[in-house]
C-alpha cells in the first residue's frame, strides 16, 4: 500500500499549568497518494492538533509520523498548509504573498519569468488575477482564503493540509469556494487532508471522512469511505442515496455516539 502519510500510534500531550493534558492517544491513520481525507469531530477534540502534527509544526510526544517513509521532523514545503485564518502577510500584496512561496520552492531551478508565470497561474486558478496587486486588507475574507489556497497549491506540494479553510466564511461563499476547490483538486490530483466542522463539506469533498472521538485522549472513532464518483456536483448529490447515507452516518457518529461525552 503506497501510503504517503503514515500516522502510527501517535499520542500528543501538552504540559499545561494544571498538569499534563493528553490531547491525542493511539491515533493510526494512513493516507494514500491522491486521496482527499477530512477530519471531523466536535470542537476541541484535537483535529487541529493532528493536522499540525502532519504539517510538522508540532512533534508528537509518542508514536511515529511518516511522510514518504521518512519521519516528519518539522514543516516543509512538500506539505503545504492552508491556515484557518489565511495567514497572508499583510505587507505583501496578493501576488507577492504567492510569489514568496513559489520562489522558495522553485527559485533554485527556475528563472524569474517562470516563477512569475507560476504565481499568475495560481492566482488564475482561484480566479483572483484581478486582485493580484491588492493588499490583503483590501480584499474580502473569502478572497483572502482563496489567496491562501493559491499560495498552497502554487507550491505543488505532495500533500495539502487545510485547517477549516472555509470555517470563517458565510454559507454562499463557502459553497462557491468548495466548488472551486473541487475544480483545483481535480486538476492537480492533490493529496489533501482537511479539517472541517461541516458534514456536507466533508462528504462533498472527501474520499474518506475520519471521525474523531471527543477529547481528552481523543482518537479516531470511525472512518467512512465516500464512494461517490468525481467530479462531484452539489446539486446532483443532494438526492443521491449514497450521499444521504454518508451524511447520516457522520451525523449519527457526531450526535449519538459522541454526544454524551461532550455534554
Amino acid at each position: 500500500m503506497n501510503a504517503i502519510v503514515k500516522v502510527e500510534n501517535v499520542g500528543m500531550s501538552f504540559d499545561t499549568k494544571k498538569g499534563r493534558f493528553i490531547a491525542l492517544q493511539n491515533v493510526n491513520l494512513q493516507i494514500k497518494k491522491g486521496e482527499v481525507v477530512s477530519l471531523i469531530g466536535h470542537s476541541g477534540c484535537g483535529k487541529s492538533t493532528l493536522l499540525n502534527l502532519i504539517a510538522g509544526l508540532t512533534l508528537p510526544t509518542s508514536g511515529v509520523m511518516l511522510c514518504n517513509g521518512r519521519e516528519i521532523a518539522g514543516p516543509g514545503p512538500e506539505r503545504a498548509v492552508v491556515f484557518q485564518n489565511h495567514s497572508l502577510l499583510p505587507w505583501l500584496n496578493c501576488f507577492e504573498n504567492v510569489y514568496l512561496a513559489v520562489e522558495r520552492v522553485f527559485g533554485t531551478k527556475e528563472g524569474k519569468e517562470k516563477l512569475k508565470a507560476r504565481t499568475n497561474e495560481a492566482l488564475e486558478m482561484v480566479h483572483m488575477s484581478h486582485a493580484a496587486q491588492k493588499l490583503p486588507h483590501e480584499i474580502s475574507g473569502g478572497m483572502k482564503q482563496r489567496i491562501g489556497i493559491a499560495r498552497a497549491f502554487a507550491m505543488e506540494p505532495q500533500i495539502l493540509l487545510m485547517d477549516e479553510p472555509f470555517g470563517a466564511l458565510d454559507a454562499l461563499t463557502r459553497a462557491s469556494l468548495q466548488d472551486e476547490l473541487i475544480g483545483v483538486m481535480e486538476k492537480t490530483g492533490a493529496t489533501v487532508v482537511m479539517v472541517t466542522h461541516d458534514v456536507d463539506e466533508a462528504v462533498l469533498l472527501s474520499d474518506r471522512v475520519v471521525m474523531m472521538t471527543n477529547g481528552p485522549a481523543a482518537t479516531i472513532g470511525e472512518i467512512l469511505e465516500v464512494k461517490l464518483p468525481k467530479p462531484r456536483d452539489r446539486l446532483a448529490l443532494a438526492h443521491d442515496a449514497h450521499f444521504v447515507e454518508c451524511r447520516a452516518a457522520i451525523l449519527e457518529f457526531l450526535y449519538q455516539k459522541q454526544m454524551k461525552k461532550a455534554a
Binding site: 504539517a55 516543509g76 498548509v81 495567514s87 502577510l89 499583510p90 514568496l100 512561496a101 522558495r104 493588499l135
Partner: protein, 316 residues
C-alpha cells in the same frame, strides 16, 4: 516567547493603539513614573472628515465649528488668564508685550553675533542637530540590540537586569560622564540624548520581535524560508510599527531632555537660550521659548505619526 518580563512593566506601547495612553520615558526624577500622554487629536480630526462627502453644508459647518471652536476657546482662556496674571505682576510680561518681542525675534531669526548671541533660528537648529545625532546613533545601536534581545532569550535574560536599572535613571545624570569622556559640552548633551533615546528603541523593538504573530512565523516554517527572508519579509515588516513607536517615544523624550541638558552645558541651543534670557531677565523671551519648544515638539511627534501611519498596513 521570551522577554515578557523585560517589556511588560517597562515601556510597552502597542503601535496599533495610537490613541491609548502612551507611557513616556522619564525625563527628570520627578517624572520617573508613568506620564500619561494621549494623542487623540489626530483621530478626532480624521473621523468627521471621512464622513463629509455625502452630508449637507450644514453638517459641514457644524463639524467645522465643533472642530475649531473648542481649541480656540482653550487658547483664548489661557491668554486671558495670562493677561490677568500679568496685570497683577510687574515682572511678568503680558501677551501683548510677548507678541511684540516675538515679532522682533522672528523678524531676524538667523543673525549671529558670536557664540553667545545668535538668532532663535540658530538656537532651534543647533538643538535639533544634537537631537538628530544623539537620536540617530541611538537608533543605530538600539534597534539591532532590540532585535537581538527579542530574538534570543539568553540575551534577554542577560541584558534585562541592566536595562531595568539604567532605564529609570534621568538622562541628565549621565551628563557628567559625557562631559568627562568627551571633554566638551556639545557632544555631552548629544550623549544625554543618546541615552534617553535608546531605551524606548530597544524595548519597543524587542517587544515587536516577541509579538510577531505566530501565524506569520508558521508561514515561514512551512515555507522553510531562509533566515534572510525571515528577517526581510516577516520580522522586519511586522516589527516596523513597534520600532516606529519606539522612535516616536524617543524623539519626544529627546526633545524634552535637550532643553534641560543645554541649560546645564551652555553653548548654542534653545535650552541654553532660555537660561541666557533668564540671566538677562527677558521673561517674555522665555515665554516665547516655551511656545517654540512646544510647537517644535508637536511637529516632531506629528511627523513620526505620519510616518507610522504610512507603515500600518491597513487594519493590522
Amino acid at each position: 516567547m521570551t522577554t515578557a518580563s523585560l517589556t511588560s512593566g517597562l515601556v510597552a506601547v502597542r503601535p496599533e493603539a495610537e490613541s491609548a495612553p502612551v507611557v513616556r520615558g522619564e525625563v527628570t526624577k520627578t517624572e520617573d513614573s508613568k506620564m500619561g500622554a494621549t494623542t487623540h487629536t489626530d483621530k478626532a480630526a480624521a473621523a468627521p472628515a471621512k464622513a463629509d462627502d455625502s452630508v449637507s453644508f450644514d453638517t459641514h459647518l457644524g463639524n467645522f465649528v465643533r472642530k475649531v471652536i473648542p481649541p480656540l476657546l482653550g487658547f483664548a482662556l489661557v491668554i486671558g488668564v495670562w493677561a490677568l496674571v500679568a496685570m497683577k505682576s510687574a515682572d511678568f510680561p503680558g501677551p501683548g508685550k510677548t507678541w511684540d518681542a516675538a515679532v522682533v525675534l522672528f523678524s531676524d531669526p538667523f543673525y549671529s553675533n558670536g557664540p553667545n548671541d545668535q538668532g532663535i533660528g540658530w538656537n532651534i537648529l543647533s538643538s535639533l542637530k544634537r537631537v538628530a545625532i544623539g537620536f540617530g546613533v541611538a537608533a543605530l545601536v538600539g534597534i539591532p540590540l532590540g532585535f537581538i534581545i527579542g530574538r534570543f532569550a539568553f540575551m534577554n535574560s542577560m541584558l534585562e537586569p541592566i536595562i531595568s536599572i539604567l532605564r529609570p535613571v534621568s538622562p541628565l545624570a549621565w551628563l557628567p560622564i559625557g562631559l568627562m569622556v568627551f571633554k566638551a559640552a556639545d557632544p555631552a548633551s548629544t550623549w544625554t540624548i543618546f541615552i534617553c533615546s535608546i531605551w524606548p528603541m530597544i524595548l519597543n523593538t524587542a517587544q515587536g520581535v516577541q509579538r510577531v504573530p505566530q501565524d506569520y512565523l508558521n508561514v515561514a516554517r512551512v515555507l522553510n524560508l531562509s533566515e534572510f527572508k525571515i528577517i526581510t519579509k516577516i520580522l522586519f515588516p511586522s516589527v516596523l510599527p513597534y520600532m516606529l513607536t519606539g522612535i516616536r517615544l524617543s524623539i519626544g523624550t529627546a526633545w524634552l531632555v535637550i532643553v534641560a541638558a543645554e541649560m546645564l552645558t551652555g553653548g548654542v541651543g534653545i535650552g541654553f537660550w532660555v537660561w541666557d534670557e533668564w540671566n538677562n531677565l527677558k521673561v517674555e523671551h522665555i515665554i516665547i521659548a516655551i511656545f517654540v519648544i512646544g510647537i517644535v515638539g508637536l511637529l516632531l511627534e506629528q511627523l513620526l505619526l505620519l510616518i507610522a501611519r504610512r507603515f500600518s498596513y491597513g487594519a493590522n
